[in-house]
Symmetry: C2
Subunit: 225 residues, 2 copies
């Protein structure tokens, strides 16, 4: 068996949100898909250990925001690598509420609100199926794919590129990899959003610098080999 | 509700095959995704009216072949718009058998064989979850996305293009649309694979010409407006 075959499956990337009474939470998910047209129903696979899973079970609601291709890595890191058990994810985040009171991102291309009708437990994950109760286009744009996100994280495509070519990965000297999320720090690019100019070696980064994707500290990084 | 929001969900395109005793069948599906890593398990949504659905229920097996971006439209039409109830789909088709005896395409990028562990009925469709029993890369290449397929069908991207820009649809004079599968016949391009040279008006096509995607006859076409 070659598990690389799994990487040939195509996905988008979504912020999937839910609520429990007045508490809101959301996470990154790639497994959102339509399952029936009449009535329109969508499904999502969610890890049972996640707080969003608890919220979906409690409210029977989820909303998927379709991320655009130019989504900053920090947004994906915020929703994907930090737990809502430790901090309120929507605090300080620009969001709107769907008719059922579940948050979606105004920076998304579209949102789909669903009311859970069925759930299938499958080991570590649950597949929730929900009838779409509201859906709207938010703004025009190209959806972010999971493949493109991985290319961005490895610094292999500029943010505005149309869509990625087949990945060609080459280790470059001076690059360091985040062991938590696989983000690559490239000294040629620095981390402009984090105030680090291009040309800064990893070892010269300030001690309080954190991974722009997942927030891990410097000691979570190892040299790329 | 704006159902166009559903079109912002990203999918790949797959030939999903199964068998019932010695009989083989397959169809096109876009809803293949990984659901757990430990153990590796994948899911697929299949219309309950399809023969492949019957075969998956009978054998508890399915194999997804990941289609490459340069898949000819005729291949998708063969598996996607013709029923295995009327003809043996693998007759005259190049295929190989997975260890469990389910066909996959040697022209695919990868195949994943799964043994069904759970099934969730969801209206017109069933979501089958299967533990991956075998998976292999078949050849390198870029996976075909559902969005790219739709662009190809509308003649909006050349076959070798990397990936589609946001769709800009404009009706052109002389183009006819297949009402069965939405393929567009463009007289500027003709249908070279069907022996029709560029510059041939739709009305001049031979009476036995059929839609290169779904095999519908000429009278299934209407002028694009």
């Amino acid at each position: 068996m070659d598990t690389k075959a799994l990487h040939q499956i195509t996905y988008g990337l979504y912020v999937v949100a839910s609520r429990r009474e007045d508490a809101l939470n959301a996470q990154i998910a790639n497994t959102v898909f339509q399952i029936t047209s009449e009535p329109p129903a969508i499904a999502v696979g969610i890890n049972r250990a996640n707080l969003t899973h608890e919220f979906i079970v409690a409210s029977g609601l989820f909303v998927a925001s379709v991320l655009p291709q130019d989504t900053p890595l920090a947004v994906i890191g915020h929703f994907g690598f930090r737990s809502g058990r430790k901090s309120e994810k929507f605090q300080g985040t620009d969001y709107r509420l769907s008719p059922a009171g579940v948050p979606y991102l105004p920076a998304s291309l579209a949102y789909l609100e669903a009311k859970v009708t069925r759930a299938l437990e499958a080991g570590t994950h649950t597949v929730f199926v929900g009838e779409v109760s509201q859906m709207e286009l938010v703004q025009p744009g190209v959806p972010l794919t999971y493949a493109h996100y991985h290319q961005m994280k490895r610094g292999a495509v500029p943010k505005a590129a149309p869509l990625p070519p087949a990945p060609v990965e080459q280790a470059k000297p001076g690059r360091w990899v985040c062991k938590q999320c696989t983000y690559i720090y490239d000294p040629e690019k620095g981390d402009p959003e984090g105030g680090v100019p291009a040309g800064t070696p990893f070892t010269a980064l300030p001690g309080n610098w954190v991974c722009p994707v997942c927030g891990a500290s410097k000691d979570a990084f190892a040299p790329e080999d």
